[in-house]
Amino acid sequence: MTLPLILYRSLRQHALSTLVTAASIALACGLLLTVWMVKVQTQQAFVETTTAFDAVLGARGSKLQLVLNAIFNLEASPGNVSNADYQAIKHHPAVKTAIPIAVGDNYFGWRIVGTIPELFTGVEYAKGKPYAVEPGGRLFDPEKHEAVVGAFVAQRLALKVGDTFKPYHGLTFNPNEQHPDVYTIVGILAPTNTPADRVLWIPIEGVQTMTGHDPAAATDVSAVLIQLRAPTAGMMLDIRYNRQGNRLTLAYPVGTIIADLFNKIGWLDQVLALVAYLVALVAGASVLASIYASMDARKRDIAILRSLGARRRTVFGAIIAEAAVIGVLGGVAGLAVYAALFSGVAGVIRAQTGVVLDVAHWHPVLVLCPLGMIALGALGGVVPALKAYRTPVAENLTPSS
């Protein structure tokens, strides 16, 4: 009971500095965890989202833009693919599935994507996870002005089956550019935690023939999502479209293109990690500074404890333990900081990309980081502990007679 008593009393005596120091550690721990977990989960989510399709065919341009537009519903479409090109790829013997999409309209800023029902019936959005419509709804009829709404959009706009809406032209909401066409919502997609959740899906003919759209492009599509029969076929198609042709771009393999994206923005991760490490370093230094600054005031207590029989290693250990306890407090509070920070960041990412990050998603760093903070705290206690170890007893007891 001796050490816990000494720790408790010491922490209470220096409650303010203990709390401030623990808070700085908590901030460091929370930042580190947030940076790490957002990075890990974002990459994982983006990679999982791309597993549904092997390639994307689109207008000549950037492969990354093509993938972001067609799969993640971000960015503008680089252009159109003619119906002839769509039919050609659709019937290519190496292609198992070809899903056309058409973009160009929105509803209060939420993207409207035209497609065919086979996207929801013939494709899984992730391995073993087929799309589903919430009870009471159904998929749209491709020949009617009907819509199926992603779960996130439905929640944010409070849309339900039976509601109607008129699309707005363009990918950015402009109240002056509303189409007269009326669509009826016939289903709400069950949440997929993918970008599909933030889209209003309508028949592809709806986008192609929307009032005010160019009649000359009425059969064009924005891109074609492709599943191959065999991965090796991708190389053949890559040569055909990217090297020999000059009208279209085949983004293949999709996973590699996304990996390239993360490689390109890897420096951002490194900067964020560097900032987080520096904050951690400052937190460790704050443990050292706060305890060291109080050492003069503690000398008398240390000398008294020594006069009662406490050994040098006992007072050394008590200081280290105190620093470690500050690390424990900071580490535990750091998990709370992480939960708050991560939830905020996850909300922004979900709103912007549809990718859902889970604050409770298990990763070893959730344990390793708080443990590291405890070790950092204990390390910060070494210097003051050495000072305690060296405190001369007789000099710091009652003035001699």
Binding site: M1, L5, I6, R300, R306, S307, R311, T398, P399, S401
Partner: protein, 229 residues
């Protein structure tokens, strides 16, 4: 119980010389005996008590407590011996201000063989009349009460020897008499020997044959001048 032979301790002076503060050829105390030493400020008597307690290491000589030669031990073993055999009452009490009265006494036994025994600590505080102040902090007590806590703490580890350094120096006459009586009674009840040093003649008069510290200490033979510890 306490046997001292040729005990010497010197300190380095600010000028770099050496000042011999303690040079006691012989001193002894029997088990349960109560003795007092008369000494003025700066005479080296606190250093003498620190040497007996093992707080300071002697340059040479022998301090034997309950059959154990303290001067032959390393610091860690001296710490343990102090925790096991010795209780110390300081002039300024040296209570830990951030700890309650009860915790101060509990800590007095935590490093020794008794271990932390709250019931014993409570009983000791009852004995010195502070059973109703267990959860108070030292600053909430009068000086007389603080000294009683120091007495309880000094006896907490069932010591063979209690050292008291000017134990009534900070008390008024009335409280000094009460404190001295308490220390003597408590040591007697616990079977502990008591070695008290003071310059207060009224205190010293309570002991049969109080001796002058100057009579047993011979710092005059020191090799160079310097201040006392």
């Amino acid at each position: 119980m306490l046997s001292i032979a040729d005990l010497r301790k010197s300190f380095v002076t600010p000028e770099g010389g050496s000042a011999l503060i303690v040079d006691v050829p012989a001193f002894s105390l029997a088990a349960g005996e109560q003795a007092a030493l008369r000494g003025e400020s700066g005479s080296g008597k606190t250093t003498f008590l620190h040497l007996i307690a093992g707080i300071l290491a002697a340059d040479s000589g022998r301090v034997e407590i309950d059959g154990v030669n303290m001067t032959a031990l390393g610091e860690a073993k001296r710490d343990r011996l102090r925790a096991e055999k010795t209780g110390y009452i300081f002039q300024t009490f040296n209570l830990l201000q951030g700890y309650t009265v009860l915790e101060n006494v509990v800590l007095g036994m935590s490093f020794g063989p008794v271990g932390a025994d709250r019931e014993r600590a409570k009983a000791l505080l009852e004995r010195v009349g502070l059973g109703h102040r267990l959860d108070h902090y030292p600053r909430q007590l009068s000086t007389g009460q603080q000294q009683r806590v120091a007495v309880a703490r000094a006896l907490a580890n069932r010591p063979k020897l209690v050292l008291a350094d000017e134990p009534t120096g900070n008390l008024d006459r009335k409280h000094a008499r009460e404190a001295l009586a308490l220390i003597r009674e408590a040591c007697h009840e616990a079977g502990a020997a008591l070695l008290l040093v003071s310059h207060d003649e009224e205190v010293l008069a309570q002991f049969d044959g109080a001796r002058d510290f100057a009579a047993i200490n011979r710092p005059a033979v020191a090799s160079s001048k310097g201040g006392a510890a």
